[in-house]
Point group: D2
Chain length 284, copies 4
């Protein structure tokens, strides 16, 4: 037998960084996960750790880099960390840094309220020669109360679903988009991509959640030339019309039961025809 693919790292280091510019503070609130891969056979086979950079050290490095480099953009912060681990350690050949960034709304010069509408993400991978940057968002919950249909599908012996000509379409967006290069105005790019995603969800008369997915991915590519591929995972959060007839009431698209499980799950990728190969963008 032999050792196959492997990696290790410190996951979910919670970092809050204050920038104290005179009266007015800024806050950065991150969850940083590091994964490293390389020449790690000895620790697996005989417990020789001479080539292992401890996960505790990785955590320390996250905090020290936040102080010494600052965190202007999570993509750049991830790049700095990933490059550090590979470039400073001969045994580490590839590094991935995954970051969640929690938003806060400003209430005052040094007061904030946690915003709950979506979490910004970045995943940076570096192999000693080049770097791949994937930006994204998770937990962005969107709902259209009309403008969604689902008809004309396959009917087999197990099909009981009726055609839906006007349904609620609701999802919690998990989206990731791959950049062409590792240099970018990350803030402009992210807000543009996010706006394109949301606008496409809002603006698409949906014949299927797949169609909405493709429209969302395509809108990002249309809006942002620096992005070459978008991957989306969209749960279909079902809202079922409640039957009120037994109580002598009609229900013309008004009262719904919001179900937890099961849910549909629609996943897909949209990419430019000339997108470069993904390399390690999606897999360490």
């Amino acid at each position: 037998m032999r050792l196959g693919g492997n990696n290790y790292g410190k996951a979910e280091t919670r970092l809050v960084l204050l920038r104290r510019g005179g009266e007015r503070h800024d806050i950065v609130d991150l969850n940083v996960s590091v994964a490293l891969a390389g020449d790690l056979a000895d620790t697996h086979l005989v417990g020789d750790n001479a080539r292992v950079l401890p996960t505790d050290t990785q955590k320390n490095t996250v905090y020290a880099f936040a102080r010494s480099h600052g965190v202007d953009h999570i993509e750049a912060f991830g790049l700095a960390l990933a490059r550090h681990f590979v470039d400073s350690q001969p045994s580490i050949e590839r590094a991935r840094v995954s970051i969640e960034s929690y938003g806060w709304r400003r209430l005052g010069p040094h007061s904030f309220s946690r915003a709950g509408d979506g979490v910004r993400t970045a995943t940076v991978t570096y192999d000693g020669e080049r770097a791949w940057v994937v930006s994204g968002v998770v937990d962005l919950v969107l709902l259209n109360s009309t403008g969604s249909e689902f008809t004309g599908f396959i009917r087999d012996e197990y099909t009981t679903l009726a055609d839906a000509h006007d349904r609620i379409l609701a999802t919690a967006v998990r989206a990731s988009w791959r950049h062409a290069s590792d240099e970018c105005d990350w803030s402009v790019s992210h807000s543009g991509a996010l706006a394109a995603l949301v606008d496409a969800f809002v603006g698409t008369h949906s014949l299927s959640l797949q169609q909405t997915l493709y429209a969302m991915g395509g809108a990002v590519l249309d809006a942002r030339p620096e992005i070459v591929e978008v991957r989306l995972s969209l749960p279909n959060r079902h809202h079922f019309l409640v039957d009120l007839e037994p109580f002598g009431l009609d229900n013309p698209g008004q009262v719904f039961f919001a179900a937890d499980r099961p849910y549909g799950l629609i996943e897909g990728s949209v990419l430019r025809d000339d997108a470069p190969p993904p390399g390690l963008a999606w897999d360490l």
Copy 2:
């Protein structure tokens, strides 16, 4: 032995209600829990259910009332439901309806994004004669990046904590406020109370989280004459300054570790001197 206090009901009925006014829709997104108490000894002692209104019926009633009464305010919706259960069933002497209302931001005439900054709540209790209304908020996460101290506390043999002259103060507010009566402009009252809570958190130079708690409760009473008592449960979400000295770096209030557990938990009530007795407001 004997049967002591008891109640039963349907918990967490998920209701989404659309109001379709021409082009523009409104959305109401609720989690409704019902608890009923009364002459229920027979079902406990011998399994005779002749006085039991099934929890399934309670769920149906929630949906039917949403259609027939609408949901203009969760307090009024809760009152209608609580009164119905007690007034229509001789065996039901007291009813409590607890509602969570999830906010959505408008993206278009019929498009919405789930807002994550706090959930509005209401708990209504009715005993056949009078009703008590408690409004509130949960999961409202607030943070001051300065203006918080904690000094001068007791030092005993187990104390290692140093005085803090400038710390991060962060909490997830759980607040409930009792109304003097069951008639009110619920929307105006709620937004006024919420603003008072937040403003007091932001505006209080805090010597302890207890002081902030009292200021928050007091601000609600100052702002809203119809409210007679405020109860607050404030976890102290600790942010620890990271020691960067081993890496040759200073850390003047910049880089923090946001801890999960343990956390402080500060709970208290602020009430008017002439607040009427709470009756069943807080306990069914």
Copy 3:
């Protein structure tokens, strides 16, 4: 306005204690929450913390007591802590210590597997004169696949539920039982109470979940003379028979959909006729 009831403390201190007796280790795995009440007006009103024992100190005390006193039983450990806080601090008049104890199955002399079937709990309250001890269990998930009915209930205009002559009865038990005194063989008492709860669930032909609840509480009182009151909170985890007729299949009580929400929630107390008043057992 004035300050009403209040308390504060350190919540969810995670403590793992090893007892190293030669080759064979024992493990104690706890989640300890402390709440203190007393003469705390000054910290609320003016931020004077001279009477505040920091929650950080409370955490330290939990760890130090684990070392100096050991943890033979969580009830005794809670008593020692609660007494310490009140007896050592003039400003602290009442203390509550709530403990969750996670079980581990032994795999070897120093190897363990986390047991997931229920968490043992204890809540101890002390007011400087006497102490109240409540023991319990949470997250104990039980299911009877037959022997449960629900018939003969009220039918009103919103009732659509059919009589159920043979249904699945499933619940996640949350139970707490009050002891007559603060001295007891806690292990024998807990295992006896737990066995009585489970045996009553298994052995009761159930005409309602309320009947099962009363049987469970009564069985604890029958089995354990040192216990004077049992409080139970039993969610009714609905299992709905799936309609397979559209697919030409019968479904004689075989295939069920296990629903998440909504769920019934049945809560009640069973106590001895001569149970002493509860004092602070249930409320700090």
Copy 4:
């Protein structure tokens, strides 16, 4: 731009199946997720659903197959479902069925207590020609209270970790193992693989969690010839010795703080030298 990889399906269908053999019942409690891929461009590009088998139909099929085929082993149940979707629908080229199976301990002929120590899993993928079966376990929490070291690691400028000669090693095992074929005595195989995993965790004097991981994977391959690859994801649940010196107490490996985040995360694969290529076993 163009459509890249995509799939869709119904996730988390909760199925409880009773087998009623006379007096004694058996219970099967599953969470079933289906993902289908194939000729789905039309629904993405123009919302034409003529090649889409609705996720609602997939759910119905899960329930109908549970009745008509039974669920003797989750691997076989997954195979039947996956084959059905691909073989019955020209547009569906690949199907994946992922199942979690929750364990219940028997309390009586028709009474059960939910077991919390690990969830059995299976993921079956079928492409119309061949099938891949991966079995596994998640949420199996294991702890060794001694016999674990971590020394001799890289020290760089960000390293503060001291050598550990005797630490607690705790993890929540997520393991998946790939079978050589789609025919097997699934129960014997699973219990054998699980026992090998646990025995290796218990029996390995660990110089690193990586070494334990490799030992666990290797033990499965040693024990079960029908298994050709094992993938493991092992969080390192840190237990930190509490410094009790400020309180005049020693702490010789007795009192620990169990931390939530951050945690180490060790991932790796162990496979036979002659393992066949994985095909679609790990990726749809």
